[in-house]
Amino acid sequence: MAKRPGALDAIRLTAAEAKKPAKGAKAGPAPKAAKAEPEGDGEMMTTAIHLPRDLWNLLRRVSFARAEKGGGRASVSAVLVQLVKESRDKLEREAG
């Protein structure tokens, strides 16, 4: 496996990247980032969940892949919300 970058490598990478113009940069005010927040049916909640590391990494990779493809901010919450919505009927039945 290729050597993973350490802290010093990360400093140099981000410093070099910061010298480039931001992607999609245009003259005038910077555009607001596309919303990637999950859409709920009402009030939003922020909480913590505990899950196996490999599943967390998978969710994270999916969120990054979707952001790369569709633009906007990577959002693990949005991935989770979509998964729950897809199974909502089944979950509602189980909850009674």
């Binding site: 010093l8 400093i11 990478l13 922020t46």
Partner: protein, 213 residues
């Protein structure tokens, strides 16, 4: 503007400080608090005050591409102020945060181990300055200090030897511990308390340094 709260040692009060700084700054602008620690402690316990958007963005065992993707997303955030709570070790995400930050805040407790870790953190910041035209600025914050002890009294002087700016001292106070236990920042939990006033003074110094960054 981007503020990273970092130290290569755990248990020095990074998360508490990051939460307090973000919450205090949120009274005047939109703030995004990025929890970059895989332990997700900031996003775990905080009941975010109005104006603070808490995002859990850990980055472990990352490739070059993932580091760049993470840092570009930080740069593209739609917020006047971004505060990054870094993990307690020498990692790519700590490096990325230092590579992005205008200011790095380094909490340091009154112990030899904390001071040594802070010194190593300062070395990392100086490496960043070589490729970032003198950025980021650094502010060492004496944290959880017992003023009554001999160690406490000489502690700020010992930190001055690291040759970086040393900020206002945060004294070990019960109010902060209680605020943490209740999931709030100290200014929201006990406004006007000595602990809240100390945080307020610290944030004034942070804002002053950011204006000069």
């Amino acid at each position: 503007m981007i503020v990273a709260v970092a130290n290569l040692k755990g248990g020095v009060g990074k998360t508490t400080l990051a939460v307090n700084i973000a919450s205090a700054l949120a009274s005047r602008q939109r703030v995004v608090l990025i929890d970059a620690d895989a332990q997700a402690s900031a996003s775990d316990w905080l009941t975010a005050p109005a104006g603070v958007d808490v995002q859990a963005w850990p980055l472990e065992d990352a490739s070059d591409r993932e580091i760049l993707s993470w840092s570009n997303r930080v740069r593209e955030l739609d917020a006047a102020m971004v505060v990054i709570d870094c993990p307690p070790h020498l990692s790519a995400v700590t490096g990325a945060a230092i590579g992005l930050a205008d200011l790095v805040v380094l909490p340091c407790g009154p112990s030899v181990a904390d001071v040594r870790a802070t010194a190593r953190s300062v070395e990392l910041i100086r490496e960043a300055r070589k490729v970032r035209k003198g950025k980021p600025a650094a502010l060492i914050v004496p944290n959880r200090v017992d003023r009554r002890s001999t160690t406490g009294k000489g502690f700020a002087l010992a930190l001055a030897a690291l040759d970086e700016r040393v900020g206002p001292t945060l004294v070990a106070r019960q109010a902060q511990a209680d605020a943490t236990a209740s999931g709030q920042w100290v200014g929201g939990y006990m406004p006007g308390s000595p602990a809240a006033q100390e945080v307020g003074e610290l944030v004034r110094v942070v804002e002053q340094m950011l204006r000069r960054a």
